[in-house]
């Protein structure tokens, strides 16, 4: 064979005439290991023994005990064995159609052709069968039997090519909290779930035109003739699966880009379906989200931001504002620090707040660039304020999750301090607890390392997400910041007040200063003060302000 596999393939010759077997064996024996069977029954025994290690069967039709047709019939009934290619040996023209119908792939006429011709036919048949098996293995997902993503797009484009005018839907399907199913019920149950979803999607589609694939993990794509009722479609599947899989709270969500615009590339159609699917992530009350104009506007907006990001950095469109932090233990609030907050002064969209772009930059791994920009800007301002003789208060900056995983983080920060003539005590580093959830050991080490250089480290957004008391015990911190959402609720809900008291008590016990951010109302302020939460940040005391204004405030305080 002219490929890269260096093993001799095995060919089974089935013929009741020893002379014919010997001749054929001699012709191809130089290239292959040869096995012989004298009738169909012996052949079936050997096929059973050797299975898929047989690369080819050369099969005579007229034999005693069991003839060649019966062998073909038995092979065609076996899902695995039917993949072994069979060439029929015959002198009868009339036998060819019947053999083809039973799965034979080629014929070698009797008396035999010249040896070169036979060898070429044998080689070509084996090559084709192996190529087709290889394609099949790449074409189908092992777990579910559905197409793999790569082949899915190939077939979806083929539908497009041959049936361009049809109304089609691009659909993304995802099992909500699939990782929890794996965690709680084990990987086997998770796999069983994926197989069941694949089967159900196929059943539900029935004879409707379309293709289905498992793109990855628990993400499935469907490119199908337009469905009138997507909710019924997915509800039927969920109802069946809850019963068969025994997971009563199973939730599956579906993002639909209906009646696709045929001018939009196939991959983009599924980006849209996925986008719709992501829009209801975490909302178990909804199972279907349709890609709509608002999503499209949002998509265009985010694409623009991503496209403009580098230019925005070089043109210094990012502006750092400072929100003062006050100690309220005494009668009069004392300025004790500030948090640097970044805005994007976009030439077309105007002043954008962090919620418009931070998560996006994080998702596209661009956040580190922005963080470095902010750290430099802040260090420069602190240097200027100090040079001007203003009061020095530490300014906190955000350290994103991805920064914490960067081995060069400490050196980058130290270089920035050096460049602007300031010290580690002039800065506070704010990290989020989600970073701890990613890789606790590594984060604890990094934080300890940064603190050994004199940096103070605060835990941001404490009280939401996966707040963990063990984290407080493990992590060497200088303060924790209560999440804005919690502060917003303390005047509205008893539970939130209880949580606040609990966190204040815990912080006290661990001798950790507590900072409350997002304080907007008098009532919140009073409640925090009564709980002995001493450091406050929020609109109630001061809004975030440009560097120049904060510089003046520092001068005044001095």
């Amino acid at each position: 064979m002219d490929d890269n596999t260096f093993f001799r393939r095995t060919v089974l010759i089935v013929d009741d005439e020893p002379i014919n077997r010997e001749i054929l064996g001699t012709i191809i024996g130089g290239d292959y290991e040869i096995l012989h069977a004298g009738d169909g029954a012996e052949a079936m025994r050997m096929i059973g023994d050797y299975g898929m290690t047989l690369s080819l069967i050369l099969l005579d039709l007229f034999m005693p005990v069991m003839d060649g047709y019966e062998v073909l019939q038995k092979l065609s009934e076996d899902e695995t064995l039917k993949r072994i290619p069979v060439i029929v040996l015959t002198s009868e023209k009339s036998a060819e159609v019947k053999s083809l119908g039973l799965g034979a792939v080629d014929f070698i006429p009797k008396p035999y052709d010249m040896p070169e011709i036979i060898r070429a036919r044998v080689q070509r048949t084996i090559q084709l069968a192996e190529d087709s098996a290889l394609i099949k293995s790449m074409e189908n997902d092992d777990l579910t039997g559905l197409y793999t993503g790569r082949f899915f797009f190939e077939y979806a484009n083929r539908i497009e090519q041959y049936d361009a005018g049809r109304d089609m839907d691009a659909i993304a399907v995802n099992i909500s909290n699939f990782h929890l199913i794996n965690d709680l019920h084990g990987r086997d149950t998770g796999d069983e779930m994926l197989r069941s979803l694949a089967d159900n999607l196929m059943t539900e589609l029935g004879s409707r035109m379309g293709v289905v694939c498992r793109e990855n993990s628990d993400n499935f794509y469907l490119y199908v003739q337009h469905l009138d009722n997507h909710t019924d479609f997915i509800d039927r599947i969920v109802t069946r699966m809850r019963r068969t899989e025994g997971i009563s709270n199973l939730h599956i969500r579906m993002g639909v880009y209906p009646n696709v615009d045929h001018d939009v590339p196939m991959e983009t159609r599924f980006v849209r379906a996925r986008h719709a699917c992501d829009a209801i992530r975490g909302d178990l009350s909804q199972s279907v989200a349709v890609y709509d104009e608002e999503m499209q506007r949002n998509e265009i907006f985010t694409q623009r931001l991503l496209q403009d990001f580098e230019e925005a950095l070089s043109q210094q469109q990012f502006v750092v504002h400072y929100q003062p932090k006050y100690n309220i233990a005494g009668n009069k609030p004392l300025l004790v620090g500030a948090e640097a907050l970044v805005r994007w002064n976009h030439p077309e969209f105007g002043m954008l707040s962090p919620k418009d772009f931070l998560a996006l930059l994080e998702a596209y791994c661009l956040i580190s660039k922005l963080d470095r920009y902010v750290w430099n800007d802040v260090a420069q301002h602190i240097g200027q304020w100090k040079d001007g003789g203003a009061m020095a208060v530490p300014v906190s900056v955000n350290i994103s999750r991805i920064d914490l995983l960067d081995h060069g983080l400490k050196n980058t920060l130290l270089t920035i301090l050096q460049d602007h003539g300031i010290t580690a005590q002039d800065c506070v580093l704010e990290i989020t607890e989600s970073a701890y959830a990613d890789d606790a050991v590594r984060i604890v080490e990094t934080v300890a390392d940064l603190r050994s250089e004199g940096f103070r480290v605060e835990m941001d957004d404490f009280g939401i997400g996966y707040s963990s008391l063990s984290m407080l015990a493990d992590m060497p911190l200088d303060a924790i910041k209560l999440d804005t959402q919690l502060i917003r609720n303390i005047t509205k809900s008893d539970k939130s007040r209880q949580i606040l008291k609990l966190v204040v008590g815990t912080a006290k016990m661990l001798s950790l200063p507590l900072i409350a951010e997002g304080v907007e109302e008098r009532e919140q302020y009073d409640m925090l003060k009564s709980c002995d939460c001493e450091i406050i940040q929020g609109f109630y005391l001061a809004r975030p302000m440009p560097a120049e204004e904060f510089g003046k405030l520092l001068q005044k305080e001095e």
């Binding site: 005439e17 002379i19 001749i23 001699t26 007229f62 008396p111 040896p115």
Partner: protein, 114 residues
């Protein structure tokens, strides 16, 4: 003794037969002897005598294939004609065809012996 020359003289298409045996003379000669010694011609004779045309057809068909592969034309030719008659279960005129095949087989056998 069998030789290319004697076989060609007998009427075999030696080049073709040898090519199928990858030009291995020893193998070719061995297979010819195997064919002559397998008793199938006698079995065919017996089946025809008994009027068992189904069995006769199967045997004739098998023999035709073997002698065709060995390119032993003088034996293959009458067997081929015989097979076509038996395919439609026509027993008439089979004897002379079988007799011719047997005669040629005997000639070849004596060639080997000689």
């Amino acid at each position: 003794m069998l030789s290319r020359e004697s076989l060609s003289e007998f009427g075999a298409n030696c080049d073709e037969g040898l090519a199928r045996c990858m030009n291995n003379e020893n193998l070719y000669f061995k297979l010819i002897q195997m064919a002559l010694g397998d008793g199938k011609l006698a079995a065919l004779h017996k089946a025809l005598d008994a009027g068992n045309l189904d069995e006769a057809f199967e045997l004739a068909h098998a023999l035709k294939g073997v002698y065709a592969n060995l390119a032993l034309v003088p034996i293959h030719r009458p067997l081929s004609e015989l097979t076509e008659k038996l395919r439609v279960r026509d027993g008439s005129g089979c004897e002379p065809l079988l007799a011719e095949a047997e005669k040629q087989a005997t000639i070849l056998t004596s060639l080997i012996a000689g």
